[in-house]
């Protein structure tokens, strides 16, 4: 108002002349607005295109991880080999290593080949390479768990080896097999023959989600079981620790703390902490939780604590923003009625801030779920095949890995089959993140709709 009414400041043309003719200034402004809209649209399109490319590449290379090539056969569990003493004593039977079991599978496969009427010019040892080494160990574990199986002939579905699996997923071809020392065209031919007779098939297999990690040479058996458990345990720890601590800290800082140099300092530092590279938190965790407090390495408890430290600033900032957004009139109303400060916060302010707090917490959790760097430093990158116990049995202190670390780990391995495994793990990770974000949206809607 003031500059419009200032004497002599009325520009000629503004507000004068015909409304039907657009003056140059208006035309310019409209053009600028049009250009800006186009910039924005282009930016959005680039973003969407990048997202589509990313998702397509991950899905195309990763979805096959959920499919697995298997071979059906009958195996006779020969008592002579597996339990010479006949006493079904665990310790006695455990002396028979996988070398003792391999011939059983080899014979079983030969029998299957013979029964199918396939004329294979492969010696039994080469034919045996169709079967994953992991399957021999699995058979041994199964027998040791059920000693009664010894002496019986059982139906068995075994994992095909990585190269055969790759043949059915398009990674391996006859041409590449010529050059590959791990697989020969004859073996591929045998696999095709078995498939025609229905003994070999490729289908959905959830073992990718449940099985533990496997060694470099057995990509077909590598699974995410331990990593999913480890990540779940860490999320549990982060939620249980970071939510109450973060919310309590925010409420204190926002509602109760006096405004002075100390609280200013704390505020600045919280904002700065949110920007600290996560690997620094890993070093902190290594120094404090492992070297000083003596907690075990690779354990979800340490990972959870480190991620809690990392998530706290996010939660505090989000919670404070949510508390700030509650209109002061609500506080005034409660205080004016004679409510104490705490009553006004817990009865009125906190319920109104809840959607924002929950959203912030879940975003913090999602951030923690995808975090890799600090976990590398506290040893969660280790090769762990044992499932951690349930939390009640001290599972938080057992070694485990985490989803993003598992991705990192697999991408470093040489066998191309691990590319598929890593992409599959990324799909799982993204699915969890999507689930968490949907939960955040749902909770926000739910709490906002109340009034």
């Amino acid at each position: 108002m003031t500059d419009a009414t200032a004497p002599g400041a009325v520009p000629s043309g503004a507000g004068q002349g015909s409304l039907l003719a657009r003056d140059t200034r208006t035309a310019k402004r409209n053009a600028a607005e049009g250009r800006f809209k186009i910039y924005g649209l282009v930016a959005v399109c680039i973003g969407i295109a990048a997202l589509i490319v990313l998702l397509t590449s991950i899905l195309t290379s990763g979805l096959s991880a959920f499919r697995q090539t298997t071979i059906d056969m009958q195996v006779t569990l020969d008592e002579e080999r597996l339990d010479p003493s006949g006493a079904r004593d665990y310790d006695e039977m455990a002396r028979v290593t996988t070398f003792g079991y391999a011939p059983l599978l080899r014979d079983g496969l030969q029998a299957t080949i013979a029964a199918a009427g396939i004329e294979a010019d492969l010696d039994p040892g080469d034919a045996m390479d169709l079967i994953s080494d992991e399957s021999i160990a699995q058979l041994r574990n199964r027998v040791l768990d059920n000693p009664d199986l010894v002496g019986q002939t059982i139906d068995l579905t075994v994992l095909a080896s990585g190269r055969i699996d790759g043949f059915y997923k398009g990674r391996v071809s006859y041409a590449s097999a010529e050059l590959d020392s791990n697989v020969s065209p004859e073996q591929l031919r045998l696999a095709e023959a078995l498939e025609e007779r229905g003994a070999l098939r490729t289908g959905l297999d959830w073992r990718f989600l449940t099985a533990p990690d496997a060694s470099d040479t057995r990509p077909e058996a590598a699974g995410l079981g331990v990593a999913i458990l480890g990540s779940a345990y860490m999320m549990l720890i982060v939620l249980v620790l970071a939510l109450p601590i973060g919310v309590a800290a925010s409420i204190y800082l926002e509602e109760f703390a006096p405004q002075n140099r100390w609280t200013d300092l704390i505020e600045v530092n919280i904002s700065n902490l949110a920007a600290v590279p996560s690997i620094v938190f890993g070093i902190l965790g290594l120094a404090i939780f492992i070297n000083f407090a003596g907690l075990p390495q690779s354990a979800p408890i340490v990972g959870g604590l480190v991620l809690t430290l990392m998530t706290l600033p996010t939660i505090i900032i989000a919670t404070r923003a949510a508390l700030k957004a509650v209109p002061p009139s609500i506080r005034d109303a409660a205080l004016g009625l004679g409510a104490s400060k705490m009553q006004s916060v817990f009865h009125h302010v906190l319920p109104l801030a809840m959607p924002g707090i929950l959203t912030g917490t879940i975003i913090g959790l999602a951030q923690a779920l995808g975090e890799t760097a600090p976990l590398l430093l506290i040893g969660m990158v280790a090769f762990v095949r044992e499932y951690p116990d349930t939390p009640l049995d001290g599972g938080f202190f057992d070694p485990a890995t985490a989803l993003p670390v598992q991705v990192f780990n697999w991408t470093q391995r040489s066998d191309p089959a691990f590319v598929e495994r890593a992409s599959g793990a990324i799909i799982v990770l993204l699915a969890f993140l999507l689930l968490m974000n949907l939960t955040a949206v749902f909770l926000r809607r739910r709490f906002e709709r109340r009034w």
């Binding site: 405004q259 009139s329 005034d332 009625l337 004679g338």
Partner: protein, 265 residues
């Protein structure tokens, strides 16, 4: 201004409810209230008028120590209610505010049901022995606020879903429900249309029977309609304080006269 029949309004000042002596309020370095001394009688409506930023709301908020919530605000001087210094160190502002209720400029019902809005004060102060008792208190408060007839069938509906005027009356009911002795109103009608304003003004008339009401208003006609005593604030000072009729018909101070005749403000 002369036909407002102020003269026929008699003021029965029985007792003094609030006494303020040499009150100073500072917001940081700003001296917002200077040397205000005033005696506010019981069972009377006292209006604070004055141009924007003159400190009338600030002074009102001193009376129930709402200024305590602003960290930079500092109050000096002495304010007594029934002879007790409310800024005494032994006084808990929470207890004080149960005795001195407040209605704000903008209707600010809690985002809860109408019933819970009114019942909140009695609940936190433990005024009701059981549910039936609480129901009675809520009904009485809503009746006092002339809202009962409109909301009695939807007490569980959201308080924020009412119209502006209803919301403000709900806030008055909420303040009344804790049985305060003094009711402070900070421009209670500034967000309301004329009809709702009329309802709230009638209500203020009735509330006078039980409470000492202090109302801050921008509208001089409202002050002359509802109040028996009027105080004119100007730039943080209490310029003139007297019976409403006298202030509006025969102001002693030139600044008051300028304001009520529309020359400033």
């Amino acid at each position: 201004m002369n036909d407002m029949r102020h003269v026929e309004r008699t003021v029965r000042v029985d007792t003094t409810k609030i006494t303020a002596r040499d009150v100073q309020v500072f917001y940081g370095d700003t001296h917002a209230i200077r040397n205000v001394s005033v005696d506010i009688p019981d069972k009377t409506v006292t209006a604070f008028i004055g141009p924007s930023g003159c400190g009338k709301s600030t002074f009102l908020r001193c009376l129930n120590r709402m200024n305590d919530t602003i960290s930079v605000a500092r109050v000096e001087g002495r304010i007594e209610i029934d002879g007790e210094d409310i800024y005494d160190r032994r006084v808990d502002p929470v207890q004080l505010r149960a005795k001195v209720g407040m209605v704000f400029q903008k209707p600010n019902p809690f985002p809860k049901s109408i019933y819970d809005n009114v019942a909140y004060g009695p609940r936190i102060h433990g005024l009701a022995r059981d549910r039936a008792d609480l129901d009675g208190i809520v009904e009485k408060a809503l009746r006092r606020a002339a809202l009962w007839a409109e909301v009695k069938d939807r007490l569980s509906a959201a308080g924020t879903g009412l119209s502006g005027g209803q919301q403000q009356r709900l806030c008055i009911a909420r303040a009344v429900a804790t049985s305060p002795e003094v009711l402070l109103m900070d421009e209670p009608c500034s967000a309301l249309d004329p009809i709702a304003t009329d309802q709230v003004e009638n209500l203020i008339h009735e509330l006078r029977e039980n409470y000492s009401v202090v109302i801050v208003t921008h509208s001089m006609s409202q002050a002359s309609r509802v109040s028996q005593k009027t105080a004119y604030f100007h730039l943080g000072e209490l310029v003139e304080y007297g019976e409403t009729g006298q202030i509006f018909t025969n102001p002693q101070d030139e600044r008051t006269e300028n304001y009520i005749t529309g020359r400033i403000g």
